[in-house]
């Protein structure tokens, strides 16, 4: 496989080349966890450039990733080799409840249909609004693995998977103590790592790798299965706050974001959360068309 011209930051970004690079990245996306797959089209967007930089940094081990794939360059060479040798996601333990990690990206239509079936109090607009919340939390569904909506942790006795690079803020002494008893499954992040990942902690960052329990998450067999816990929690919120359901059905993303904030559902700034939801709602409305 060859490229005609360069792809990425400052590249020519011919659509055929961009699509080829995106496909290669997706074939070895397991190396870039928890990054989700790229949308496969000929458009070189910010996510594509970030994925290239991530690949250069983590796989090519380039200390100064330039975010560009050049014809005949080292990044392309390693990208092709990695894609060719890409194997199914690994299993880390002999626990029969562990399954391999798979990206499960539902379409907006699938999420809306499932919501309408599972929560009869929702109207079509309400299902789209709630779907927008799910899409906002998972970057359009790209960060949804094994139908785990909300990144719910798992004990060893439930069906589970492992995600890499789970991070935690700690004191310096606490971080060192955690690393010392992790059996080699944790390290204190370097300044470079922190900067690259955008981890925001006052003191130290501890990074865990599978099969550390901090990396263990629930795995579900289907969207409907995975949505059950998530939906039940939302139904409980609706029971306590009657405006939640009416806001959902009115398509009022700002009011929904406010109700979820009141329920303690997220810790991000409310304005950012509402903005993310509104953006996803607009995309869903565009994809699904007018409500009849």
């Amino acid at each position: 496989m060859t490229l005609e011209k360069s792809v990425g930051l400052g590249g020519a970004n011919e659509s055929v080349d961009v699509l080829a690079v995106k496909k290669l990245i997706n074939q070895c996306i397991g190396l870039l966890q928890p990054r989700g797959p790229l949308v496969e089209n000929g458009f070189c967007d910010t996510q594509t450039i970030e994925a290239i930089q991530d690949f250069q940094s983590r796989v090519v081990k380039n200390p100064a990733p330039d975010g560009r794939v050049d014809p005949g360059g080292k990044t392309l060479e390693i990208l092709i080799a990695s894609a060719a040798s890409s194997k199914p996601a690994p299993i880390f333990t002999n626990n029969p409840n562990e399954v391999s990690t798979k990206t499960t990206t539902p379409s907006p239509g699938e999420v809306v249909s499932m919501l309408l079936l599972s929560w009869t109090a929702l109207n079509a607009n309400g299902a789209r609004t709630l779907a927008a919340q799910f899409m906002a939390e998972t970057a359009g569904g790209r960060f949804c693995f094994n139908w785990n909506l909300g990144n719910v942790k798992s004990g060893p006795d439930d069906l589970h998977m492992y995600l890499r690079n789970v991070w935690e803020c700690d004191t310096v002494a606490g971080a060192l103590a955690q690393v010392s008893k992790s059996g080699g499954l944790a390290h204190v992040a370097t300044a470079e790592e922190i900067k690259q990942r955008g981890w925001n902690c006052t003191n130290a960052v501890v990074v865990f790798q599978p099969p550390h329990p901090q990396c263990r998450f629930r795995a579900y067999s289907s969207l409907a299965d995975g949505a059950q816990r998530w939906l039940n929690h939302h139904k409980s919120i609706a029971l306590k706050n009657i405006t939640f359901l009416t806001s959902l059905n009115a398509g009022d993303t700002a009011a929904v974001a406010h109700a979820l904030k009141l329920a303690g559902y997220y810790t991000a700034p409310e304005a950012d959360y509402a903005k993310g939801m509104a953006s996803q709602k607009a995309k869903i409305d565009l994809v699904l068309g007018p409500i009849r």
Binding site: K153, A177, K235, G264, T267
Partner: protein, 170 residues
């Protein structure tokens, strides 16, 4: 009459002298684990072997129990009598505990969890919290990180570095 007055005074003295449960702490050595409350005692294991703490006197002493291999800490709050979920949003440093339709953002990732009745106690790298799921309120017990936790007999206990902290929770 005088005898009656003396008896009343003695009764009053006895009731006043009964110690109200107060928080206290004891030192531990190495990694403490298998914390459990039973019959007015906290039992646990650490680098010295099995220990027991009398909750009335705060006295820590050797226990004759056999220490099992340390069980894994309950980072997912799973297997409890309460229906609890722990969410770890990928972009955030803090876990969120969902229970009874309410969510409680923690300070850091959940390191261990324990529940009794409607009470849920959670320790993270940066604190310990007690959640009364019936009342829907959370109380911060400590701003220090912990590793292991237990709740029972009206008490909560959690490890905090080289010490074990205990506090009444009712």
């Amino acid at each position: 009459m005088i005898r009656l007055a003396l008896a009343l005074l003695l009764l009053l003295f006895a009731s006043c002298s009964e110690r109200k449960a107060q928080p206290f702490e004891i030192p531990v050595q190495g990694e403490a684990h298998n914390l459990s409350f039973e019959a007015g005692l906290l039992t646990f294991c650490d680098g010295r072997g099995a220990r027991k703490v009398d909750l009335k006197t705060a006295q820590d002493s050797v226990s004759e129990r056999v220490c099992p291999k340390p069980a894994e800490a309950n980072t997912a709050c799973s297997g409890l009598k309460l229906d609890v979920s722990v969410r770890s949003p990928a972009s955030e440093a803090n876990d969120i505990v969902d229970v009874n339709g309410a969510s409680y953002p923690m300070k850091g990732r959940v390191h261990d969890c324990a529940a009794e009745g409607s009470l849920l106690i959670v320790v993270t790298a940066l604190g310990a919290s007690l959640i009364d799921t019936a009342k829907g309120v959370a109380k911060e017990l400590s701003q220090q990180g912990g590793d292991r936790v237990a709740v029972g007999s009206g008490w909560a206990a959690w490890t905090e570095g080289a010490r074990m902290r205990l506090t009444p929770v009712n």
